[in-house]
Symmetry: C2
Subunit: 412 residues, 2 copies
């Protein structure tokens, strides 16, 4: 079987070449359920917000010119011609010398162009004493001053938070077009792997990856389709992956990719369809056995069985693919500068990712201390690590005290 | 009616005094659905991970002492005594001079204490040529080396991400105890407010707050119970809030809290039960009409009707309450330093929050430029703002060029 390792950069390019990372499709959902979804169309205002001139205070609607010269010692007296209620079109017209009672949010009646606050008035029967002059538009929120009809308010690709959802509601949308969520099937293989919740027979271990990877899929904006543990049998695995490919956009397996006699995944992937295997191992550490197949425009990622390796490779290679398919901007890893606590060596000829814990503080300088991985099988390596340091193939080593860039893991 | 404004600090204290912000309760859910939930108990390992000594390579299990002195020019020959499969307890015992074939992940058989990698061996019939010595425990992942039985692996209060969920799976948990999600009812009031999706009669505006606040509740770890727009009628509002209080832990209304003649919310809240109104207006800008009632250990927040004010007050006062009830750590607002682009004045005697947009860059220095709110009714104010600057009651103003702390809004 074809077994030439790809470099890290080659692997990323090959995957991109075989996968259309454009968003999957569009669906219309209720606006009230749209939190954290991605807008799939530019939204243009079909109405002014507010739709009419509104009073921003409780008071009296006037022609501003009628109040000129009014002050505390010399009020101007206007005649009350009616009341404007909130939520209904005013039935009156304010003529010179007249005024209408108005409340916050009510439409400014015809003829009026400003509002005098109640505090600056006094009412005696039908006569309103105005103790303070107002200028045109004072205490008036003009139609379209928040959003103008025809204005593009939110652009395609925007993640919808409270503020965007509020703006869509203001425009009268009760539904919204968002990108579909990619379905990502997850399964684990291996004769030694047992599903959590079941008794653990001797010689077996509990499945970790189907769980940790499913959570990572959710975090990336995908929907995990959890298939659990498959028997380590070529025919069963082939059947399950084929079935998963029929509905899911991406399939992720873990385990079964080393060169041991029972490793069935690469052999199975080759049989699934064209073009088949596109990456057969990557010159990285950890994650060397990572295998990727492309089948009829869909991708199958066969991640290593070691939990730390599997999550790291997911983070480096799979997450950006899911984000693209979901219409999301690729999450930029948060990076911090730190000083290496010790020498860090790369694996010869392989891009190496060293899990590190940060100590010290930002003021005095952070220190990046490698987490003793011991063996990449450990899930606790990841629990203890704050992020990783990347060492390229060309670097000999990172020296003690050297400045390094730490890529932080998103905190769960 | 009682109408003395609370200061901002007083309001926070009064709310805390009347509300038990301890987590609501505990529920057991499937681990596979636990992403972003909060662990409600310390989890202690009831087994070693891995549960047995495992081989980390494909090769031959040996007594390390038998390989001492082996090198490329002088192999040591051991006799093959069987094969250890992955996923089952070994049925053989490796005696001196013997070796067993083993694959990655398989249990180390009795008698053996190290594994020689296949690459460093050669097989001729039943004789295995060992070309490289190994030391005790080489290529062996010891039982409990990842997680030791009895060790507390994850603590109560931890948010569950991919790594924590992986660790729980490793321990065999298919279910997990997490804090219940607080139910937060949301309703809007006001004769002028119309539900999005319906035609907009003259004089009316679409409801914004029930939507933006619902999204903000989700973002804070609560579950919004969306009640939509209520008629501006005291009896209807009272009935709806009473019903909401029966099932929800917190009720949020918006609108109806100014001093206009139709403002029914404060009057209604006073009738609901003891102790009733605890905050009747706060000396802040925006958000002065904010009203809070405590009823039988539950809280009703009556937020202002203006969308920007409502979301800001949610952010300042309601979010921490929901997070506490959900068992979450209070989200620390991300803060950045910037230079004021212009003078910023507080409202007299009120804690003032000025919405600002950031320009410039971190290298050369950020500039905080107030977003022309014009009128706090605008939802677009929030869309344009990156965060806010807080001006305390005692500050006269912030001068142009002065360094300010900008509290960033969480990006949706």
């Amino acid at each position: 079987m074809f077994r030439k390792l790809s470099t890290f950069e080659e692997a990323k390019k090959i995957i991109q070449k075989h996968f259309d990372a454009k968003p999957l499709g569009v669906e219309e959902i209720p606006l009230i359920e749209a939190y954290n979804r991605i807008l799939a169309e530019d939204v243009t205002a079909t109405l002014d917000v507010p739709p009419f001139n509104r009073s921003t205070v409780d008071g009296y609607a006037v022609k501003a010119e009628d109040t000129f010269g009014a002050d505390e010692n010399k009020p101007i007296i206007l005649e009350l011609c009616g009341t404007v209620n909130v939520g209904e079109p005013p039935k009156l017209h304010v003529k010179n010398g007249k005024t209408a009672e108005i409340v916050t949010g009510a439409p400014i009646p015809e003829g009026a162009d400003a509002v005098v606050m109640t505090e600056n008035t006094e009412r005696v029967d039908n006569r309103i004493y105005i103790y303070s002059a107002v200028v045109k538009d004072e205490n008036v929120m003009k139609a379209g001053s928040d959003i103008k009809k025809g204005e593009t308010v939110i652009r395609k690709g925007q993640s919808l938070g409270p503020r965007e959802i509020g703006a869509l509601a203001a425009l009268g949308h009760s539904k919204v077009k968002v990108y579909k969520i990619p379905q990502v099937a997850v399964l684990s293989t291996g004769a030694e792997v047992t599903a959590p919740g079941k008794p653990l027979p001797p010689g077996k271990i509990y499945d970790i990856n189907a769980y940790s990877i499913s959570a990572a899929i959710t975090e990336s904006g995908g929907k995990p389709v959890f298939l659990g543990v498959l028997p380590d049998d070529a025919a069963e695995v082939e059947k399950a992956i084929k079935k998963a490919l029929a509905s899911a956009d991406i399939v992720i397996t873990s385990g079964g990719v080393s060169v041991g006699p029972k490793d069935v995944i690469p052999k199975t992937l080759e049989k699934l369809g064209k073009p088949g295997l596109i990456v057969c191992g990557i010159a990285i550490k950890p994650g060397k056995p990572t295998t990727v197949a492309a089948v009829d425009g869909k991708l199958v990622f066969a991640l290593p069985g070691h939990p730390t390796s599997a999550l790291l490779i997911f983070h480096l290679l799979v997450r950006p693919i899911i984000e693209g398919k979901a219409g999301r901007k690729t999450t930029e890893t948060v990076k911090v500068k730190a000083s290496a606590s010790t020498r860090m060596f790369p694996a010869r000829g392989r891009r190496t990712f060293v899990m590190v814990k940060l100590t010290g503080d930002e003021a005095k300088g952070l220190i990046a201390e490698p987490v003793p991985t011991g063996l990449s099988g450990a899930i606790t390596t990841l629990l203890k690590a704050d992020g990783f340091v990347e060492i390229t193939e060309n670097q000999q080593f990172i020296d003690t005290g050297e400045e390094v860039t730490v890529h932080l893991f998103k905190k769960g």
